[in-house]
């Protein structure tokens, strides 16, 4: 008689909610009459994400200390629950952003895929062995490959999908080979067991660690593993970009943190240096590359690379304070990122083409809400006050300084200095010129207001600004979540 593992349905709740939503939405997009397919599917996806966030919150509240469940393949802890809440909230907002995407066929399947990608992410963040890690990664990546290429009538979308698949597949292969090497060195797949195996500085383990780190670096788009990011962010439908830029980053960053701290505590000296190097390269390359971009989505893509750099600075600290800083940073970052791409999506729909900086001219006057919001997001990205971005930077720098990485602080300050120039350039375009000055007219007059998108943008602004004024609750949650990691 073989013992069957106990299945913890509660811990699986968020994943199942989204998976269920995805399945039902898929059914609905085939069975329901055509006119209400989109509504039903979108509603289901929204509910799924909201439910995942709520269940994640419940797990957070109920789980005082981490427990591994289901034969050690997943862990139920506050870190994972924190990520589930954030990913769930991002997904729900992205459903709103996607609502008015001009698309005449297969509108239901889009939401099913979105929910499936979300399910993959909330599964991924609870991974506690290398197999679950790889499966979770592939789970949401496959959904994203399809979502990126979803607008099959746009050559750029298909091209971006193919590029993402090839580069992403390459990253997965590296991650997998690294996992194999780690397995070879320790004979274990579970993170805690790998750490306990105490393989010391076995060359397999070190090489495997490097490859696992590299594979995850693809997903968080840390330079030099970011090469797909600008093309894919630019080519995907903007609503998908907003989801990817926020949710993938949150999930992959937290899993990176989890793997490094739980599976490789003995190798801390090695990985803190490697992560610090990745952080430095991301900060330098991301900011420099963003500086002269004209296409707004590309600019935001490089800005996302540079923010990966800031987050990795926190990881490189290798301390609980660093983990807390990272967790806090992710909240306003996710909100700003979703919001910024949502504004770009709105402009894209108005103009019917890719949005360059020139195309933003006058948005601040024509669409006060969107203009003001983009303004808030840019200041937040640059770390100006009244946005959580400021505290994010402060915490990250503090963690790095206390960990003795003063050179990363210096680099971060220089990167911030450069970034201020290009973020402000966006604001300058928003407000300093009216569209009429440049002869940029709205395509097809003024399209109807997109209420869902405006609600979504307003929510993200609320989080961006709210995380500044109500920093304490987020900090508390971040501290609780960080405590579930072995420091």
């Amino acid at each position: 008689m073989i013992d069957t593992p106990k299945v913890d349905w509660f811990a699986l709740g968020p994943t199942l909610a989204l998976l269920g939503a995805s399945g039902v939405a898929l059914l609905a997009s085939v069975l329901v009459p055509a006119w209400m397919r989109k509504g039903v599917a979108a509603g289901l996806a929204f509910l799924g994400f909201a439910l995942a966030a709520i269940l994640g919150g419940a797990v957070f509240a109920e789980t005082a200390s981490p427990e591994t469940t289901i034969a050690g393949s997943m862990v139920q802890d506050r870190l994972g629950a924190f990520a589930q809440v954030v990913v769930g909230a991002i997904g729900a907002i992205v459903v709103l952003v996607s609502w008015a995407e001009p698309r005449r066929s297969h509108r239901g399947e889009y939401y099913a895929l979105l929910a499936a990608a979300g399910a993959g992410m909330v599964f991924f963040v609870t991974a506690s062995n290398l197999m679950t890690l790889f499966l979770g990664l592939e789970w949401f990546s496959l959904c994203l490959y399809v979502l990126v290429a979803y607008d099959t009538h746009r050559a750029r979308s298909l091209e971006a999908g193919l590029k993402y698949l090839i580069v992403g597949g390459f990253g997965s292969a590296i991650l997998l080979f690294g996992s194999a090497l780690v397995y070879g060195a320790t004979g274990e797949l579970g993170f805690a067991e790998i750490a306990a195996a105490g393989a010391g500085s076995d060359p397999f383990l070190v090489a495997g660690l490097a490859m696992v780190l590299g594979g995850l670096a693809f997903k968080v788009s840390a330079a030099p593993f970011h090469m797909w990011t600008p093309d894919v962010y630019q080519g995907s439908p903007s609503s998908v970009t907003s989801f990817m830029s926020a949710a993938t980053k949150v999930a992959a960053m937290l899993v990176l943190l989890r793997v490094l701290t739980t599976a490789f505590p003995e190798e801390r000296e090695i990985w803190t240096v490697a992560v610090a190097v990745l952080a430095a390269v991301s900060l330098v390359w991301g900011n420099l590359a963003a500086f002269a971009q004209r296409d707004v989505k590309r600019l935001l893509a490089f800005s996302s690379v540079s923010h990966a750099g800031f987050m990795l600075v926190a990881v490189a600290a290798g301390t609980e304070a660093g983990a807390e800083a990272l967790l806090y940073y992710l909240v306003p970052y996710a909100a700003m990122s979703v919001g910024a791409f949502a504004v770009v999506a709105a402009r894209e729909r108005e103009l019917g083409r890719d949005v360059s900086l020139e195309d933003l001219a006058g948005l601040g006057w024509e669409r006060p809400l969107l203009g003001l919001s983009l303004w808030v997001f840019m200041l937040g990205f640059a770390g100006f006050p009244l946005t959580g971005g400021m505290f994010g930077k402060l915490f990250v720098f503090t963690a790095a300084y206390e960990a003795g990485d003063w050179w990363l602080v210096v680099l971060g300050v220089l990167a911030t200095a450069v970034s201020i120039a290009y973020y402000l350039n966006v604001v300058r375009w928003l407000y300093m010129r009216t569209g009429a000055d440049l002869g940029v007219a709205l395509a097809g007059g003024s399209p109807p207001r997109d209420a869902a998108l405006e609600v979504a943008v307003a929510l993200t602004v609320l989080v961006t600004v709210g995380s500044f004024f109500a920093a304490q609750p987020i900090l508390d949650a971040a501290a609780d979540a960080a405590r579930s990691l072995p420091f």
Binding site: T4, M131, V146, P230, L394, V413, Y431
Partner: protein, 743 residues
């Protein structure tokens, strides 16, 4: 006056009165928790320094709002902009005022930083208020970049102190700092932020540009808000500054440099507002010198100087605006003799100019008296420099007032609203009142200095009718200044050379060059980024390979590199291994898709055989199944694809430039992987015996079915994940291959 102007004026006046009331009632404060786990508090207190700058912000603000009530509608009319833009102007002005008051009263370094940046943001929009003008846009951006970037230094200084002392609260920090490297570092960073904000050399270039703002904004910015915030910060962090003599001496150097650079350039400027802007650089140089000289006299002098300068400078900027509205001219060379057409304005700004020039009976006389006194206390050399600085001020401000109001009338002036002259006269009047009755102003300065010094300060000023050093110094300054005014030919060429040299070599060039080189670097990076996909993957693989190699080199690989021996019984397996290896290598050769597919499939099938040898028959079976399915899938796709495009693809050759590089990169990666394995072989082989043990135990563990059992039972969750992935893949493909109806 329009409604927004009225409301703003009422609010400014109310705030002014409340601040005064607060001062009299004795430093009220608010203290609420914000983020307790960090010790972050919403903590405000109206201490001496807070009172001083709040009074300036609201008082000067009140005058500026009144003036704007008449100025802004005219301004908008000139630019043919709608009247509702007025609302935005006053809104931003109020935001500016609030952030200034917040800054002045913040008791917490984080709060300080928050309001610091808010003043920068508010000024950004006000400087760029004339958004249709390229000059205004550039100026606004430059102001925000320079002050925003240096503000980060303030934040870093804050975190350095926090990391050392565990608190953001200014009083607590003041109580606990001890002289040392940490505090000096923090204070230096913060002082740099302050110096950039009050436009000291070498950060001064943004301020003259910012004169592109509407005149009332300039008046407010220079006298009471943005720029004044810079010296306010120096006053606030003075307890940290004074821990290091070197830092204070540095302030003296920067202050004098700004004083002379600003003064000399001001002598050469033709545009009124530019002249005044450079004069601000020079004037805040005085304040920085005073803080640098330190001691009670220096710190009280600095605070007093700020008051005197604020009253005079705001009046002068408002004058410039009123003159421009009345005549349409903005250049000194095109103005003159306006005393006849605008006597009230001439009087008001005359008083203000006299105040800056430090003539007796104005508040300015005392500002210079304290300045001379601090200089004399330090050293004779410094004293001489102070006289030269004061003489420069006398000269350029004299040049301004004489040029505009005396001499022949050059441009006719039409009548302007009383609201444009009234505030100037009122401010000029205050300059006079301060000269006749300095006690309240000195009391305010003493209170502010008390907040900086942490000890009671009681400096008194009187007119002394004797031959003391300060009086003699003042007289010599007037004499030199007057001589310079009388004989411009003597110095003009030299001053203009200096100014031109500054333009050619100055920090603005550095700023522009930095931005340009950043742009060029960025373009170059963009060029790298948009090369083909494979270049990017190569760019990933090289660092990846390097990482692995570094990891390998960093680990001790003791022992011999042995691969183990082979015996005759292994022949079959070795053959299979060799086949797989050869097949793998063969995949690099063919160009035809089908051939290649078959070769690749043979790798897969050989590997399946290897799996079987390795004791995984079930895995081998699955591998065969998957490999077959995939091969069929590929063949199906080949059949689906247009023949022509397949042929085109097959004919593609590697461009000659990359023919060597890419294989090299690939070979390096393969070598790295090989080395890893090779290195690994040297480690003690622990596994073999375990494997034998496992083989022995297999029958007990239901060997035939154990993988299946694990798949369904132990690893049920992973299998669920796997199934989901596969399901999603099919559904994804179905979505991708739909017939697009939208085009």
């Amino acid at each position: 006056m329009s409604l927004p102007a009225r409301v703003s004026a009422a609010l400014a006046a109310l705030a002014f009165v409340l601040t005064l009331a607060g001062w009299w009632s004795g430093s009220p404060g608010i203290d609420l928790p914000w983020a307790p786990s960090l010790g972050l508090r919403l903590s405000f207190e109206l201490d001496g320094l807070g009172v001083l700058y709040s009074l300036l912000a609201t008082g000067i603000g009140f005058a500026v709002v009144l003036y704007s009530g008449a100025y802004v509608p005219l301004h908008l009319e000139h630019q043919q902009r709608p009247h509702r833009d007025e609302v935005r102007f006053f809104g931003l002005l109020l935001l500016f005022m609030v952030s200034m008051v917040g800054l002045a009263t913040a008791r917490d370094l984080i709060l300080l930083f928050v309001f610091w940046d808010l003043t920068a943001i508010a000024s950004y929009f006000l400087i760029g208020y004339d958004r249709q003008e390229a000059e205004a846009r550039t100026a606004a951006l430059m102001a925000l970049v320079v002050t925003g970037v240096t503000a980060v230094l303030l934040l870093i200084g804050t975190l350095v102190l926090y990391a050392e002392y565990g608190t953001f609260s200014i009083p607590e920090l003041v109580a606990s700092v001890e002289p040392g490297g940490t505090v000096t570092l923090a204070a230096t960073l913060m002082a740099l932020a302050g110096l950039a904000k009050c436009a000291q050399v070498p950060f001064h270039f943004w301020l003259p540009r910012a004169m592109a703002a509407p005149s009332p904004v300039s008046a407010y910015l220079h006298a009471a808000a943005m720029v004044a915030a810079g010296v306010f910060l120096l006053g606030r962090i003075y307890p940290f500054l004074e821990t290091s003599e070197l830092l204070l001496d540095g302030l003296v150097v920067v202050g004098f440099a700004s004083m002379f650079v600003g003064g000399i350039v001001a002598l050469t400027r033709d545009r009124l507002k530019q002249l005044l802007a450079y004069s601000t650089v020079s004037q805040y140089g005085y304040v920085v010198v005073l803080y640098g000289l330190g001691d009670t006299v220096g710190v009280v002098g600095a605070s007093f100087y700020v008051i005197a300068h604020a009253l005079a400078k705001s009046a002068l900027f408002l004058t410039a605006g009123a003159v421009a509205e009345a005549t349409g001219e903005r250049r000194l060379s095109e103005l003159g003799g306006l005393r006849r057409a605008m006597p009230a304005l001439a009087l008001g700004s005359g008083l203000a100019a006299a105040g800056l020039a430090a003539l007796p009976l104005t508040i300015g006389f005392f500002k210079d008296e304290l300045f001379f006194q601090a200089g004399v206390e330090r050293s004779p050399g410094i004293a001489v420099l102070t006289i030269l600085g004061a003489a420069l001020t006398f000269a350029y401000i004299g040049r301004f007032w004489i040029g505009v109001f005396l001499g022949p009338t050059r441009a006719p002036a039409h009548r302007v609203s009383a609201l444009l002259t009234g505030p100037v006269v009122a401010l000029g009047g205050l300059v006079l009142v301060g000269g006749l009755l300095p006690e309240p102003f000195v009391a305010l300065a003493n209170a502010a200095a008390e907040a900086s010094l942490g000890a009671a300060a009681s400096v008194d000023v009187f007119y002394h009718l004797d031959a003391r050093a300060e009086n003699l110094m003042a007289l010599s300054a007037y004499a030199i200044g007057a001589a310079a005014l009388a004989a411009p030919r003597v110095w003009r060429a030299a001053a203009e050379t200096c100014a031109r040299l500054g333009e050619r070599l100055g920090p603005e060039r550095v700023y522009v060059a930095t931005i340009r080189s950043l742009n060029e670097t960025s373009d170059r990076i963009h060029g790298i980024e948009v090369r083909d996909l494979r270049t990017r993957i190569a760019a990933i693989l090289v660092p990846g390979g390097l990482l692995v190699l570094l990891g390998l080199l960093a680990t001790p690989t003791a022992g011999a590199y042995t691969v183990g021996s082979l015996d005759r019984g292994d022949t079959a397996l070795v053959l299979v291994l060799a086949t797989a290896a050869l097949a793998a290598i063969a995949t690099t050769l063919p160009r035809q898709h089908l051939t290649l597919l078959l070769v690749a499939a043979s790798v897969g099938f050989s590997l399946a055989v290897v799996y079987a040898f390795l004791g995984g028959p079930d895995v081998a079976l699955v591998a065969v199944l998957v490999e077959t399915t995939l091969t069929l899938l590929f063949i199906g796709v080949f059949a689906l694809m247009p023949r022509a495009s397949l042929r085109r693809l097959a004919a593609l050759r590697t461009p000659p430039t990359r023919r060597w590089r890419d294989p090299l990169v690939g070979a390096a990666a393969a070598l790295a992987a090989f080395l890893v394995v090779w290195g690994a072989l040297s480690r003690p082989s622990v596994g073999e015996s375990v494997a034998e043990e496992h083989v022995r135990l297999t029958p007990d563990a239901h060997a035939k079915d154990v993988v299946t059992a694990i798949l369904t039972d132990f690893r049920g969750l992973d299998t669920l994940g796997e199934i989901t992935v596969v399901a999603i893949a099919f559904f994804g493909i179905a979505t991708l291959l739909r017939r697009g109806r939208l085009s």
